[in-house]
Assembly symmetry: C2
Homo-oligomer: 191 residues x 2
């Protein structure tokens, strides 16, 4: 192992990144099957065989494309009133800034590996986040699951199914409607 401290700017790194970006865009737009290696390569402006050289197989490319974090806000730094709006705005921002999140959602509908990745994100990023404000771990798990139903439901209907009423509403309006819901899932009780 050579010490690769300070930049080792392989010329291929840019291509590697271009492939990954193209893959996310195609996966987000077309889903797994229709996002052909050839289509991804074409969008990245290189030969299809390069995709294989750098990522080994289409499945591994998917794994690389789905490997990202949610970068969720720190709930303990926010008042209970601020939390819910921040979560909703963060989700919408995450979906609109790049296609990674939507790619994961769309591909997870058909590819078990992506579905497993989504389960991992809920268990290892949302659940611990909730655990910072909910001491009971059993209950924190449930709150995380319930939160996911609403958050992923919003992302699905707005960016994948594109239901007109959901698309038409602004981020502020959605936040206003959904804040009490998230508040309920974060700290409320059933019944």
């Amino acid at each position: 192992m050579t010490v690769d401290r300070d930049v080792t700017p392989r010329r291929s790194d840019r291509t590697r990144a271009a492939i990954l970006a193209a893959a996310r865009e195609r996966f987000a737009a077309d889903g797994y099957a229709k996002a052909t290696i050839r289509a991804i390569a074409a969008q990245a402006g290189i030969d299809p065989s390069m995709v294989m050289r750098y990522y080994g197989s289409k499945e591994k490319l998917l794994a690389a494309a789905a490997d990202f974090g949610l970068e969720l806000p720190d709930l303990t730094q926010l008042t209970p009133a601020e939390r819910t709006g921040a979560l909703i705005r963060h989700l919408l921002d995450l979906c609109e800034r790049n296609d990674t999140m939507i790619a994961l959602l769309r591909v997870a509908a058909t590819q078990e590996a992506a579905a497993e990745r989504s389960r991992f994100l809920v268990a290892n990023q949302i659940e611990p986040l909730i655990a910072t404000i909910e001491p009971d771990p059993e209950l924190a798990r449930k709150r995380a699951g319930l939160l996911a139903t609403q958050m992923l439901g919003l992302a699905l209907t707005r960016y994948v199914l594109e239901l007109p009423p959901v698309v038409a509403m602004s981020a502020d309006e959605l936040a206003a409607w959904m804040s009490p819901v998230l508040q309920h899932y974060l700290t409320g009780r059933p019944d």
Copy 2:
């Protein structure tokens, strides 16, 4: 046109139905691309060419498989307190009794025709349902969209992504947690 009053029990009707049932099962389990005509035919116990003979093309088979109604309960016959639980239980029942709903959801992630069908169902079945208890049509549209985010989010996380915390909860527990949410979307106000 011959008068086909009282049964004309074509021998093919059973095969036709078997193909449709098999298609829904495969679409629900594998999504559109992986649900091969050959796989569907095999599950129906007939030859792949029969699928084409009866449904013309794979796209038309999908259209036939996605052609169903939500059979939603009549909200005006229920007290506000009963409505929400009834809606949630109805959705879970719909998803668990046969695979049609899950097939639509899974396929809609990649096939525009199925996504369009989901938009149609929201606009022509959920929206009119809400209109029976919400006079303002603009607001009824929004309530329908918001309701869809939570309902489809539940179906997605429980039956497609199979998030463990959501799968683990019983129908009663989910209804208890989500009833206030639906109540808010049905009759509440933002902010």
